[in-house]
């Protein structure tokens, strides 16, 4: 009986029967340095301990025979190992692998500038777009303050490393935006159509970009819309010196906006260099809808419709130089719907999109009536697959239908183009220090009935904890400008080959970056003008054309940003050196183009004053003179303007009250009133000239935004007794 009881007890309390094993050893990193604070334990039991300062540990376990030793430590890959506990003291020593993080893993950076909150290591943050002086809360204007881009005050668009404005593509969520800038009069650079508040991330490529994109010889500006609309219900009213905007939003679902701009009152106050017949007036409306579908799916829709009208007195290219009216009436619509989702724990990803662009400009140039109308419909599918944490694959396709109608006086025509593309890209991390991205893009365009295949390659190697070298190379093709294709459908693709080498060092809040590049242009379209050059940018090209143009651009740029050395101060310095020449369009000989400046320097400074709740900023830009056309000169485009310089200031004040949100802002462009000059326009005989200058030597702007929301900081909690 007693024996039996004992027997039962042994069965029932098995825990008390076993002997203890001591497990001892050391946990180190890959190089053998002890890791302090790693958790070493027997899986499924409480037995375990954290390593001491030298990485050593020792603990007892009552586990018998075999056990699983588990090790976990912040910043390292967890490890599990089955062991046989056959001795009273068990020795266990192992190395842990560091987890791949933004800090210890290389990122391919050649030719790319990103502004994003999602990735921790980026040069710019989305907020920078609205807090940079002289940027005017306009995304392309802020990009112009980065190395590689140039400010060309009298022409519209993003000019990158010796490329013309038409060589840069603007893309929203993967879909091409046909007319990203507003339509305006001659000699005035226009703003982009899109509010920076729509986007969560901006990637600006100065070359060597991914196979996902095409039809841009120089650069891609890729914008990603926010995944959620406003996080609140409410309305927002904006007043500024030029107009009024209203928007209403419903939590995470709908944002609806209307805006009206009329620059007439402001132009009556400010001294300016343009004689307006009808100051710019514009109105528009937009809607954003977001709808989650399932757990990981997201459907987004964005439509923007606008109209504008302006008219000014313009001294044109005719002999008498008499001022004549120049009128622009624009209608624009942009609509896109995208759907994105992931499955299999994010290993598969799908992004699809459909969009429609419509743009119509009606120009009145003196007595000539001109009209262009463009429409683009496109569909895009991208599938991503992560094969392991080291290899990922991306593949996709695009189909566009583009129509263009142009009428300039008695000339004109129309065309329809079907454009299709397929692309595949893979990114491989050979080690955490070495990454390679290789891609291939195939395109076909019906209007010139040609196809191309362009390879892209970029790689990066991490030299130490903070620094890395990147390299990017590739072939880039673009269909010639519509006006050329209209008269000559036998043209071939224009081509650019890029080679970029970059070194970047980011430590804490300091970034240093230097990049050098070579760009080789081939098969640029040339007009056979028999040596005659017409500087009229609005002319309709009637001469015979071919692809005999060529050119190059080379140079380097340096960027330094420091948010750390001074409290509440953030500044950056960017410098670009550019050497470029090309023979294209109606150029009679190879020359440095009018939109290129050899030296460009930007100093951007921001300071936050906490006591007043005020953000202040200053931007100083300096650029060497750009070439301009002088018919009396022996050499084509050999005359250069004076250097350009401008100092701009801005200030903003934010006040958040329980259900209100108020922002006041003010800015001054070119405080010193420097008399900048963008070149001269001559009468055809060269006897008379007229300076092309900015619309204002000094420009002031004031505005306020007031948001009324239903529940910003949960007022229910505050009002509760």
């Amino acid at each position: 009986m007693k024996q039996q009881l004992l027997c039962w007890c042994a069965l029932v309390f098995p825990l008390f029967a076993g002997a203890q094993t001591t497990i001892t050893g050391k946990i180190t990193d890959r190089k053998g340095n002890g890791l302090a604070g790693a958790n070493v334990f027997i899986a499924g039991s409480y037995d375990g301990v954290n390593t001491d300062a030298t990485g050593a540990f020792s603990f007892q376990t009552s586990q018998q025979d075999t056990a699983t030793i588990a090790i976990s430590f912040v910043g390292y890959e967890p490890l599990r190992q089955r062991v046989k506990l056959n001795q009273p003291i068990f020795q266990f020593t192992t190395k842990l692998q560091e987890t791949a993080t933004m800090l210890n893993t290389v990122v391919i950076t050649a030719g790319a500038f990103e502004a994003s909150d999602e990735k921790r290591q980026t040069v710019l943050k989305p907020l920078d777009i609205v807090t940079t002086a002289s940027g005017g809360a306009d995304i392309p204007a802020v990009m112009q303050l980065l190395p590689g881009a140039q400010r060309v005050g009298d022409q519209t668009g993003l000019f990158v490393r010796g490329g013309s404005a038409s060589e840069t593509r603007t893309i929203i969520d993967g879909l091409v935006v046909q007319n990203p800038f507003t339509s305006g009069g001659p000699d005035v650079s226009q703003r982009s159509r899109f509010s920076p508040f729509l986007f969560k991330g901006t990637a600006f490529s100065t070359g060597g970009y991914s196979a996902q994109y095409g039809q841009a010889l120089s650069s891609v500006l890729s914008l990603n819309t926010k995944d959620r609309a406003e996080d609140n219900d409410g309305i927002s009213v904006g007043f500024n010196a030029a107009g009024i905007s209203l928007s209403a939003f419903k939590k995470e679902r709908i944002t609806f906006s209307v805006n009206y701009t009329n620059l007439n009152p402001l132009f009556n106050v400010l001294k300016q260099n343009i004689n307006w017949i009808h100051a710019p007036e514009a109105g528009g409306t937009s809607i954003i809808l977001t709808q989650p579908i399932g757990k990981r799916g997201l459907l987004k829709h964005y439509t923007d419709v606008s109209a504008s009208h302006q008219s000014l007195s313009f001294r044109n290219f005719t002999g008498d130089f008499q001022a004549s009216p120049f009128t622009v009436r624009n209608h624009n619509a942009f609509s896109m719907t995208t759907f994105q989702t992931t499955w299999d724990e994010g290993r598969w990803g799908l992004q699809t999109g459909l969009s429609y662009n419509y743009n119509r400009d009606r120009l009145g140039i003196d007595t000539v009536q001109a009209r262009t109308q463009e429409q683009r419909m496109q569909g895009r599918v991208v599938l991503t697959r992560s094969l392991s944490d080291k290899v990922s694959l991306l593949t996709g396709a695009e189909l566009h239908r583009y129509t263009y109608q142009n009428r300039y006086g008695i000339w004109g025509g129309s065309l329809t183009d079907w454009y299709s593309a397929v692309f595949v890209e893979t990114e491989v991390f050979f080690t955490r220090k070495l990454a390679v991205r290789a891609g291939l893009r195939g395109e076909r365009t019906s209007v010139i009935d040609r196809a191309n295949i362009s390879p892209r390659l970029s790689m990066a190697y991490k030299t130490d904890s903070y620094g890395q070298v990147s390299l990017a190379a590739g072939q880039f093709y673009q269909t010639p400008d519509q006006t050329y294709v209209l008269t000559n459908p036998t043209l071939r693709f224009e081509q650019a080959n890029h080679l970029i080498l970059n070194y970047q060092r980011i430590r804490d809040n300091r970034t240093f970056r230097v990049e050098t590049f070579y760009k080789d242009y081939r098969h640029l379209v040339r007009e056979n003008t028999n040596g005659f050059y017409d500087p009229n940018t609005y002319r309709f090209p009637t001469h015979r054309t071919n692809n005999s143009g060529f050119g190059y651009a080379q140079g380097f740029d340096v960027f330094w940003r420091d948010k750390q050395s001074m409290k509440n101060v953030d500044y950056w310095v960017s410098y670009s050196f550019l050497d470029t020449k090309r023979l294209f369009r109606n150029y009679p000989v190879e020359a440095m183009p009018t939109f290129a400046a050899t030296h460009t320097l930007n100093l951007v400074f921001k300071k936050y004053i906490p006591a007043l709740g005020i953000n202040t900023g200053a931007t100083y830009s300096l650029a060497s003179g750009r070439p301009y056309y002088n018919p009396g000169s022996d050499q084509f485009l050999s005359d250069k303007t004076r250097p350009y310089s401008s100092l701009s200031l801005n200030m903003s004040y934010i006040k958040i009250l329980p259900r209100k949100f108020l922002v006041l802002y003010a800015s001054v462009e070119n405080v010193l009133g420097t008399k900048n000059n963008y070149g001269y326009r001559y009468t055809p005989d060269g006897s008379q000239k007229f300076a092309v200058v900015p619309p204002f030597y000094r420009f002031f702007f004031l505005g306020a935004v007031l948001s009324l929301t239903r529940k910003p900081i949960d007022p229910e909690l505050i009002s509760n007794p």
Partner: protein
């Protein structure tokens, strides 16, 4: 007789064993929870986090070890100065939070933990993260309040967040202190479900409230 002995031993034995296991769990948890304070030195707090992780690993049916592990890692992130390391600690906390959220999706303490995690993420880089984490923080607390308006930690977190928000951004003592007072009242009547259920926040609340008069 034999049968009775057999039956009794089995019944008692198993009962004792289960009880012993339960007691071991509670004891281990209580021991660890006692050290979960902001003032605890970092190495010791790391040991505590390690202990919670071990317990969570062994007691896979329980949600409290993972809950406390997540909370301890949040505290460790507040003590860390390097931004990247803060985020690494919070990645770890987030993994434990996921575990808790799976087991207790409808518990107000889970929602409070989500808010605590959001505020810790925000604290790493407030200037650039407020757009994402402020709404997340508020949404989590809003949900918690709808579930159980008597949870004092809701008001402590809300009050603490406002306490450190500059006045022109809608914060400051005038809005924070009434909430902290409300939290103190709720703490006075709040009884955790057991010794190992969430109970933190009293000291923080007292400290902040003591700053209110100044």
């Amino acid at each position: 007789m034999k049968k009775t002995v057999l039956f009794l031993t089995l019944a008692l034995g198993i009962g004792v064993n289960a009880h012993a296991q339960n007691e071991k769990y509670t004891k281990a948890m209580e021991g660890a929870i006692a050290t979960v304070k902001f003032m605890t030195p970092t190495p010791e707090l790391q040991q505590t986090a390690g202990q919670f992780e071990r317990i969570a690993n062994a007691e896979t049916a329980e949600w409290l070890p993972a809950y406390w592990a997540a909370y301890t890692y949040v505290l460790l992130s507040f003590k860390e100065t390097d931004a990247a390391k803060k985020d690494a600690l919070l990645d770890k906390a987030a993994a434990f939070y996921q575990n808790v959220a799976q087991k207790q999706p409808d518990n107000d303490e889970t929602m409070v933990l989500a808010a605590q995690l959001a505020s810790a993420r925000l604290a790493v880089d407030p200037e650039n993260r407020w757009q994402q984490y402020v709404p997340e923080f508020e949404a989590a607390l809003g949900k918690a309040k709808a579930k159980n308006a008597e949870n004092p930690r809701i008001y402590t977190l809300q009050g603490q967040s406002l306490f450190y928000t500059p006045e022109q951004y809608g914060g400051g003592k005038t809005v924070a202190c009434p909430l902290l007072k409300q939290a103190a009242e709720k703490f006075a009547t709040f009884k955790p479900a057991s010794t190992i259920h969430p109970s933190w926040g009293v000291e923080t609340n007292q400290y902040l409230l003591s700053q209110c008069g100044k």
